[in-house]
Symmetry: C2
């Protein structure tokens, strides 16, 4: 069990680190064909690998995260399913180069072991609290 | 499989309908002891049944939802785990009685079959899009 836990967290960290350098393909490599997805920017759930490729295409090369802190990681394993949940605190570089902005996320990732590979079948990213309004 | 799908959706609808009448105990009855939970109002993930009882105590009797529309329900079943995802569109009665406000949610519920009962082991509610600012 703890072996699965460590493996799942390592897969997620690897994909997150690539994401933080503007490379969404770390996540795309983890997605199962039937993956579904929620984030705060889509008007409804996205379903399927092709929808995720289209969703990520515009952000390729456009994101730079200076620092990411994965907190409270928890993995529930049952059968071939592992549910990873964590809080993520990011320091995102602002596009105008003027510094960084903190963003806080609630994250749920449902992994399934398919032919000895752990793949994400459902992903849910949301803001830990609604974004703060500018003062 | 379709039997499990229908059962999971019926359990969720039952808990939602009670929630919409100010009664969180429909959800509390579905939670496993080890339940974890995200919503947009908590500073981090909540872990465990007792944390959920405390989280819900202040809202008991304070919520009234005129209409709720559960859209795009999808259930992924593997072993004893069922992952329910859906979009929810609520018409919430305003506390001052002046009408209703629409709220839109992304919802992930991870159910597990424990001693022939389906229980929620992880729950993630978030806004489909960040709340609109007043004009």
């Amino acid at each position: 069990m703890s072996n699965v836990r460590d493996k799942i967290i390592a897969l997620e960290r690897g994909a997150l680190e690539r994401w933080g350098k503007g490379d969404p393909s770390g996540y795309l490599e983890l997605y199962a064909p039937e993956v579904s997805y929620f984030d705060p920017f889509t008007p409804a759930r996205l379903d399927g690998y092709t929808a995720m490729e289209e969703h990520y295409r515009p952000v390729q090369g456009k994101i730079w995260i200076e620092h990411m802190d994965l907190r409270n990681a928890r993995v529930l394993v049952e059968g071939q399913t592992a549910v990873l949940t964590y809080n993520l605190v990011d320091q995102v570089r602002l596009p105008d180069g003027s510094g960084t902005r903190e963003s806080r996320w609630n994250v749920t990732e449902v992994y399934r072991c398919i032919n000895d590979d752990w793949k994400i079948v459902h992903s849910h990213f949301s803001f830990t609290t609604p974004p703060q309004l500018p003062a």
